[in-house]
Amino acid sequence: EDKVVQSPLSLVVHEGDTVTLNCSYEVTNFRSLLWYKQEKKAPTFLFMLTSSGIEKKSGRLSSILDKKELFSILNITATQTGDSAVYLCAAFKQGGSEKLVFGKGTKLTVNP
């Protein structure tokens, strides 16, 4: 059965801290891994990773995929209170259905 596991499930930090969120996956016909940020309702897209070892960066956020170890991390440097959200990791499968298989998410709280 396809599985995506995120850790930690929740994290509380102070503004300015750096955090690393983890995502491991066991998914058949894996194609790519996606990270989303969910603040209120709609998850908003952050990154899509398809190739191993290539870091994607957007401002203070960066992410990388290791297809050998079936693992991805999302880094946030110099955290701000606006980074408080649930971060979701999802695996996209190739062939057949186009569905995403999500993890449970990491709830990040950044305190001032």
């Binding site: 995506v4 995120q6 194609r31 790519s32 996606l34 989303y36 209120k40 309702k41 709609a42 998850p43 908003t44 897209f45 899509m48 398809t50 979701l88 999802a90 996209f92 190739q94 057949g96 259905s97 186009e98 569905k99 995403l100 298989v101 999500f102 993890g103 449970k104 998410g105």
Partner: protein, 115 residues
């Protein structure tokens, strides 16, 4: 519209009632997805449409759940004889490519509470 819209945003139903949840995808998006997100959990796949064709409904939890997209645009998720365990946020997402799509754009969701 600019993004995926869903209505209603909130729905309270008595157990046993039927409900209908609407999704308006981004204009021109071929693929449409429904997900169910229980409290404290990640979204779980329900069903997928490519245009008007429902290509995967393997995630629908029971035959009380039914989805349609008759003209390949707006979609409706119907839940018959609602039960308490149906309480969740129902997310709709759309994407622009019919195969090999990656980025799915999500709507704000409909929070369903079954009393």
């Amino acid at each position: 519209g600019a993004g995926v819209s869903q209505s209603p945003r909130y729905k309270v139903a008595k157990r046993g009632q039927d409900v209908a949840l609407r999704c308006d995808p981004i204009s021109g998006h071929v693929s449409l997805f429904w997900y169910q997100q229980a409290l404290g959990q990640g979204p779980e796949f329900l069903t997928y449409f490519q245009n008007e064709a429902q290509l995967d409904k393997s995630g629908l939890p029971s035959d009380r759940f039914f989805a349609e997209r008759p003209e390949g645009s707006v979609s409706t998720l119907k839940i018959q004889r609602t039960q308490k365990e149906d309480s969740a946020v129902y997310l709709c997402a759309s994407s622009s490519r019919d195969r090999g799509t990656n980025e799915q754009f999500f709507g704000p969701g409909t929070r369903l509470t079954v009393l």
